[in-house]
């Protein structure tokens, strides 16, 4: 019995990580209706950047965040301003195909530079520390911290979006680009800020991923898919819903893995498809697709 409880708890905590994958993705969709197919690969890119930073500066992964987060934010700003802004418009194809091309470029670029070898970031003792909250229930410190950070990030983003001038600017620009300009908003700049924010979250997700498990250049698309599934399960337009979606995905995967290690990812897909079949708008939708 406690064994299954452990499985579920593991799944819940992993869900926090998946929510982190997802939040950056849904942020961008909310502000500019853009789905970034390269999102997962950017998470992996962040992981590699963290690898380089920890090796070059001799710091631990957590400290590397101080460099990786601003760096990725800058990359996001430049990417949006320099490339993705030109794909925005009525047509669905350009942003999809351009970000797809970007995904291929990033994956293969990482392959060229780092080879296909599997890497992992070492976070030290915290990786194996566990606590026993309830007799028989073991919770790893690291997954717990990551889950807590996920909640903090989502809370911070909610506050940003609904209580600050920047958040107003995001929501207004997303509503009506032309009238937003009439308010003095340089929409190209606003979109770039949104992408910078998204990649800042991606940076955190990437570092967490790198500490949590092995990574190599090819695992990007799977992270995109997990993030996407979390968003759809949770419902569009609702960040807390995305957290719920991530948790459900994590739990489904954990249960699947417990039954048979080869079924882990498949179990997650089945949970996603079930939601799609039974409640396509997701569990807590705020907007329609």
């Amino acid at each position: 019995m406690t064994e299954w409880l452990n499985v579920v708890v593991q799944g819940v905590l992993t869900g926090g990580l998946y929510a982190m994958f997802a939040v950056g993705l849904s942020l961008i969709f909310g502000v500019m209706r853009l789905v970034n197919i390269a999102h997962g690969d950017l998470i992996v890119l962040a992981a590699y950047v963290s690898l380089m930073v920890t090796q070059a500066l001799g710091v631990d992964p957590l400290t590397s965040l101080a460099v990786v987060v601003p760096l990725m934010a800058l990359v996001g700003y430049a990417l949006q301003r320099g490339l993705l802004n030109f794909t925005l418009g009525e047509d669905l194809l350009p942003p999809l195909l351009v970000t797809f091309g970007l995904s291929v470029i990033i994956q293969n670029g990482l392959l060229e530079v780092f080879t296909a070898d599997s890497r992992k970031l070492q976070a030290g003792a915290i990786e194996v520390l566990t606590a026993q909250l309830v007799p028989g229930l073991w919770i790893g410190y690291l997954p717990l911290i990551q889950f807590a950070v996920a909640i903090l990030v989502i809370a911070a983003l909610q506050a940003l979006f609904y209580k600050t001038a920047l958040g107003r600017a995001f929501r207004a620009t997303s509503d009506d680009q032309a009238v937003a300009q009439l308010m003095g908003l340089n929409t190209r700049h606003v979109f770039a800020l949104a992408m910078a924010l998204s990649l800042a979250v991606v940076a955190i997700a990437g570092v967490f991923l790198a500490v949590r498990s092995n990574f190599d250049p090819a695992i990007g698309p799977a992270r995109l898919i997990f993030g996407f599934e979390a968003v759809i399960i949770g419902g569009l337009g609702n960040m807390w819903g995305t957290l719920a979606g991530g948790i459900i995905l994590g739990v489904a995967q954990a249960i699947g893995a417990r039954l048979d290690p080869g079924w882990q990812v498949l179990a997650g897909h089945i949970a996603f498809l079930a939601i799609l079949a039974l409640r396509p708008q997701g569990l807590f939708p705020k907007v329609s697709g």
Binding site: T87, L93, L97, V104, Q107, F228, E229, G289
Partner: protein, 340 residues
């Protein structure tokens, strides 16, 4: 009386060119060596895959990054039919199509609940589901894959040479059939509806086009064609595994690059794109991931600078058509217009 004319002078020239090319290609065994035939067959399969993707994305507005699901499904059906039921591979190719079409029905019901870019990722998820399921089937090699039994292969033809000729002609015939089917569809009333959807979906709907039904049908038909080509591809490879069958790179990335570079939403685009793609591949093949990076960069550049691709540029500058797909109303001297 007035009528709708499809042809133009350039399309008449184009048809002639196509006719001559087809004859030359059919006669390739006479002038080409074994390696050439293999290359040509591979090119044919990409022309077919790209044309099908183009129909889905460029005409029906359904951008899929998961067509590898049906390529792999077709391949695995071929192997399953052969290994489990001893069905001759050539026949299995033609069975794989309709079976895949049936499978695509529930798939479509599910993923059509998503829209736009989310639909695209949904197709990717389905492909992943197929891949994971395939690796669970130990009778078909599980995760490491399986080879086509020698007995089946040998039974295809008296000699290896004949077998390869059969496969070559099948590839050519299947590709021509796919292109012909697409052409007939686009020339029909449904094709007009599809072009309308491509240009302005809302307007098409308000003019009575059943957009949802048409998109659904196109998706299923595309799955049918893609699976047949997939079966053919893995017949040529003689070996299948989940990673090769459902490879995003091979069956989606390359296909998308071909269509984007050649020209989306134009039937001639995939043909041009395949030629360019293979030219590049022959000259740059050994660069591995650098090659893919270059393709990605070129595709992005084309999407931003020339979104209609190479053929789109040609059409814009010169007004050419290779195939008679335009619709021009030709007025009579009498001045009355009769509906076609």
């Amino acid at each position: 009386m007035s009528r709708v004319e499809h042809a133009s002078r350039s399309s008449r020239v184009g048809l002639a060119v196509i006719g001559v090319s087809l004859l030359a290609l059919a006669a390739a065994p006479l002038w080409g060596d074994r390696a050439t035939l293999r290359l040509l067959a591979e090119m044919f399969t990409y022309v077919a895959l790209a044309s099908l993707w183009n129909l889905l994305a460029g005409y029906a507005g359904l951008v899929s990054v998961g067509q590898q699901a049906f390529v792999g499904l077709g391949g695995y059906l071929l192997f399953a039919l052969g290994i489990q039921f001893g069905v001759p591979p050539l026949a299995a190719v033609f069975i794989a199509g309709p079976v895949a079409a049936l499978v695509s029905l529930p798939v479509a019901v599910l993923i059509f609940r998503l829209r736009g870019a989310y639909f695209a990722i949904g197709t990717w998820v389905m492909a992943e589901v197929f891949r994971l399921l395939a690796s669970q089937i130990s009778a078909l090699g599980g995760g490491s894959g399986i080879s086509l039994p020698a007995a089946l292969v040998v039974a295809m033809a008296p000699t290896r040479q004949w077998r390869e000729l059969e496969i070559y002609w099948l590839a050519l015939a299947l590709t021509v059939a796919v292109l012909l089917a697409i052409f007939v569809l686009l020339r029909s009333r449904h094709g007009l509806a599809l072009t309308a959807i491509r240009d302005n979906e809302l307007a098409a709907q308000s003019n009575g086009v059943d957009v949802r039904r048409l998109k659904f049908t196109v998706y299923v038909l595309t799955a049918l064609g893609t699976a047949m080509i997939g079966a053919l591809i893995f017949l040529m490879k003689l070996r299948i595994s989940p990673d090769t069958a459902f490879s995003v790179n091979d069956w989606t990335a390359f296909v998308i690059f071909i269509v984007v570079i050649g020209g989306i939403g134009r039937i001639e685009g995939p043909i041009i794109g395949t030629v360019v793609f293979f030219l590049l591949r022959q000259t740059l093949a050994d660069l591995g991931s650098l090659y893919l990076m270059m393709m990605g960069t070129v595709a992005i550049a084309v999407m931003l600078a020339a979104p209609k691709g190479i053929w789109g540029l040609i059409v814009e500058r010169l007004g050419w058509q290779m195939l008679p797909l335009q619709r021009r109303l030709v007025r009579d001297p009498g001045g009355t217009i009769r509906a076609p």
